[in-house]
Amino acid sequence: MSPVRAVWLVARRELRTRLRTRSFLIGTAVSIAVLIGFVLMQSTLFGGERVTRVGLSGQATGIARALAEEAASRGLDVEVSTVRDPASGESSIVDGDLDALVTGAPASLHVVVDESLDENLRRALNTLVQREVLRAQLASVEDLDPDEVLSTVADATVDVRALRAPDPTHDQRLAMALVIVALLYLSLLLYGTMVAQGVVEEKSSRVVEILLATVRPWELLAGKVLGLGLVGLAQLVVVGGAGTVLAVVTGVLTIPSAAVGTLLWGLLWYLLGYLFYATVFAAAGSLVSRQEETQSVLLPITSVLVLAFVLSFGLLTRAPNTTATAVLSVLPPFAPILMPGRIALSVSTTWQVVVAILLMLGSTAVLTWLSGRIYTGAVLRTGPRLNFRQALRRP
């Protein structure tokens, strides 16, 4: 039997065993549900920005259009309604159906609110009142058209020159970056841990002795890493794909090509990161003989992953393009989580990505060699937990 067939048989067993388990299906479904929840939350935050409901009563009903325009210029979204009876308007405020009730003549408006008046709304109303007062003052001056003066004043604005074009899609890109960072962190942690648990399961159930009487240790290790890696990849494709489609369909993401790009880069970095971490997880797992000891022996590795995740989240939100961030995003233990986030934010340069990938591949080769030796030396030695030196010594 060729090594390829042996590796494939082992990998196929992992695929069948995992894809059929309830926990895999539930895990995938829950991940999609969480992602849907995130997308819907984003869509209400982005799309349905907060609307301020203003009730107008009496003479104040005349300012409806001017108020809407003035508020809009301040980035405030108001919904204006007419209230016949000021008393019922007040009770609407108490009930929370209205945010503000405006009464009185345009030149001296009265506002009733529940607790405090929104600052932007206050300024908008102040402007309307001041304009009305000014109109009355101008009207007393002969040979002057108040509207003409007001329009001239309104046209006089500052001229703004931006040094950098604003990126209207920055919020969307940040959301994508954080989602891909979270997905990669979870995938690497979950499937890395699964590799280790699989190794410990084989060791603790002693099935490894039968297996190694017919396949080589590296074939068994390679098959396990390959099989679980494919399961993880499938899950990431399904969850990421569903999330992307949903986000584009609901309009949360208006940049579908960037979303697809982020997903594809994410899948590439999953493969690179998984290969980097998986054999290390396997080597660590091979040192122990009981499932209870797995967590403690994996702690150093999972800590690095947690650190990479926390750093990525903070740096991408606050300082995605500083030198320190760029350096971290190139270093192998952090790159698989941080770099795809920076790519999603489109703050990484081509050479940074190339260097990161090359460093990843180089360090993965070294780690695979070392882990393979540890695994081979340790996997048949049951009993108390081994240290690295014992494992590296040939049995």
């Binding site: 067993r13 084989e202 159930s205 002693r206 099935v207 002795e209 039968i210 297996l211 017919t214 080589r216």
Partner: protein, 303 residues
């Protein structure tokens, strides 16, 4: 099937674990179609020897040969192995598991399925084809483990304690299977603490003590020079009645029957006379020493 029937040769295997000597020059041959019983106390080196044969343990010295050539991976792939520490995936279903192992031993998927089903039926596991291994009773898990050792039609069987944990019915089935495999020309090496079973089943027996093969041969060969066993049924005899008789060792007394070991060439008539002197003698029978008795002679009663 090969036309030249190969044999397993174990030649001077030595293995130490730190200060512990597991094997110290163990050597024997299991010929084609031969059932070879491997007996010895706990820690005597049986398991280490078997693990060396399967390549699971690298020996410090010595060699294992199959059909005259050093055992390589291709040869081992056709061996059937039942390890001392049972090992199966706890959450895998019986049929899937056997198919998987047969495939790992080089079977195509179709052949693997056919043979897995065949052994499931043979070993009485039909009702558990789709059951997870961890849900089976220990005895049934043991049957699955046996099926795992047999499923790829091995050319050599190496079974570490195959009978432990089996009910009498399964013991009969397994004995029959082992005889049948041997009849097909397969050398069968197995260890057991059930010496009566080994005696009944095996063509040859190896007794291992402290990492060395203390005795090896057919049961008849092992008996040579160890005299015979005399069972005397003298109900009225008092304990110690046979003490001091020349060439006689008392093995045990139970219900008026005394088992004696009579050294080679010793005369049995003085024993009969001594027995008659105690009162009536209802039985006076010569028996061959059992393997258990021979084993105690070799190993000593302490182990």
């Amino acid at each position: 099937m090969e036309t030249t029937r190969p044999a397993l040769e174990v030649d001077g295997i030595a293995k130490r674990y730190g200060d512990v000597v597991a094997c110290d020059g163990v050597g024997f041959t299991v010929g084609p179609g031969e059932l070879f019983g491997f007996v010895g106390g706990n820690g005597a080196g049986k398991t280490t020897t078997m693990r060396v044969v399967l390549g699971v343990v690298e020996p410090d010295a010595g060699a294992v040969r199959w059909a005259g050539a050093p055992v390589d991976r291709a040869a081992r792939r056709r061996f059937g192995y039942l390890p001392e520490e049972r090992g199966l995936y706890p959450r895998m279903r019986v049929l899937d598991h056997l198919v998987y192992l047969a495939e790992l031993h080089g079977f195509t998927t179709n052949d693997a399925h056919r043979d897995a089903e065949r052994w499931i039926t043979r070993l009485g596991l039909r009702g558990y084809r789709e059951t997870e291994v961890q849900r089976l009773s220990l005895g049934n898990q043991q049957r699955v483990q046996l099926a795992a050792a047999l499923v790829h039609d091995p050319v050599l069987l190496v079974l570490d304690e195959p009978f432990s944990g089996l009910d009498p019915q399964a013991v009969d089935v397994l004995s029959e299977v082992l005889r049948e495999r041997a009849a097909a020309g397969v050398p069968v090496l197995f260890s057991s603490h059930q010496l009566d079973l080994v005696e009944r089943l095996c063509d040859r027996v190896g007794i291992i003590r402290a990492g060395r093969l203390a005795a090896c041969g057919t049961v008849a060969e092992l008996r040579a020079g160890s005299g015979s066993t005399l069972v005397v049924d003298a109900p009225a005899a008092r304990p110690g009645w046979a003490d001091g008789l020349p060439g006689v060792t008392v093995l045990g007394v139970r219900g008026g029957r005394t088992r004696l070991r009579l050294a080679d060439g010793a005369d049995d008539q003085p024993v009969l006379a001594a027995a008659l002197a105690t009162g009536p003698v209802r039985g006076f029978t010569h028996q061959d020493p059992t393997l258990a008795e021979l084993y105690r002679d070799v190993v000593g009663t302490t182990s």
